[in-house]
Amino acid sequence: MGLLTNLRSSISRAASTLFSDEEPKRIGIYGPPNAGKTTLSNRIVRDWTEHGDVVGPESHIPHETRRARRKENIEIERDGKTVTIDVVDTPGVTTKVDYTEFLEHDIEKDEAVRRSREATEGVAEAMHWLREDVDGVIYVLDSSTDPFTQVNTMLIGIIESQELPVLILANKIDLEESSVQRIRNAFPQHETIPLSALEGDNMDEVYDKIAEYFG
């Protein structure tokens, strides 16, 4: 009897360490439209996978990403250790979508209506992922714009209430109007890491922190 119980418990212990080692953490890349989420996701994938095919298209037109997209089993090496994560690139979160704004980007009305419909579905999907399906969050902000927005306040509040680990990235530091301090002031309770996802500046620190937070 005792032997059997021991055996069982040691098997289940082995299984649980196996699982915790093998199941990669799912990291959601969140933030407002146009912050550079896809640019960052693509860079992570290019830096750490062999084929390096991109997660999705990057564009100056807001709501370019209209479906949450997952890239699995990205192995990031830090200090001789390997951290495995799944990256989920999400559509930029907003509380409003007006199709006429697409018209300003030289998009025809039919296409604009289609895009806005997809965008609304995508944002709803991103919120759902946040409540149910992610283990950690990278919150990307464009450091050349005002971080004190309602969407940012609400999203950070939602992430905190889920008790998910969150890393704030101040993107686009290559731009002259960039201010990392403004983001630190807005969210003093979290660590903010500056970077340029486009130029690849400060990616080493970004990967250090990803390993530290989500490893």
Binding site: T95, K96, V97, D98, A124, M127, Q150, M154, A186, P188
Partner: protein, 126 residues
């Protein structure tokens, strides 16, 4: 809620915390979106929990429809002190400190200024 026929003006629904306390999350969201979709400005004395805010965004998205409903504008005072109040409220079993929240149709309400102590909004009639 008493149906007031739309006259030449903007209807404001000021909803007390007491009234909202008795409602389930989805009922709260319905009260808000029904008001906003009629063109009203909805002011909540005590705001929503983070989980309810998340659902509000999700339901709003599902109701957006071209030339009819563009979504919502929502404002609360930014929380100063960050995790301090968060931790306190978590210890107290609450996710969010009670905060006045203004919600309106995106095409009719525009935030002019906002800081820790003041929210200024411009409401247009159409």
């Amino acid at each position: 809620m008493a149906e007031v026929k739309q006259r030449d003006g903007v209807q404001i629904d000021l909803i007390s915390g007491e009234r909202m306390d008795g409602l389930a999350s989805m009922e709260k969201i319905r009260v808000i979106l029904d008001g906003v979709r009629e063109g009203n400005i909805v002011i909540l004395e005590e705001g929503l929990s983070p989980d309810e805010e998340s659902k509000l965004i999700e339901v709003t998205m599902s109701e957006i429809s071209p030339d009819e409903f563009n979504g919502i504008e929502i404002e609360t005072y930014p929380q100063s002190g960050g995790s301090d109040s968060g931790l306190f409220n978590r210890l107290m079993g609450k996710n969010s400190p009670k905060k006045l929240t203004v919600i309106g149709p995106a095409n009719r309400i525009e935030t002019l200024h906002k800081d820790e102590t003041l929210i200024q909004t411009l409401v247009s009639r159409t």
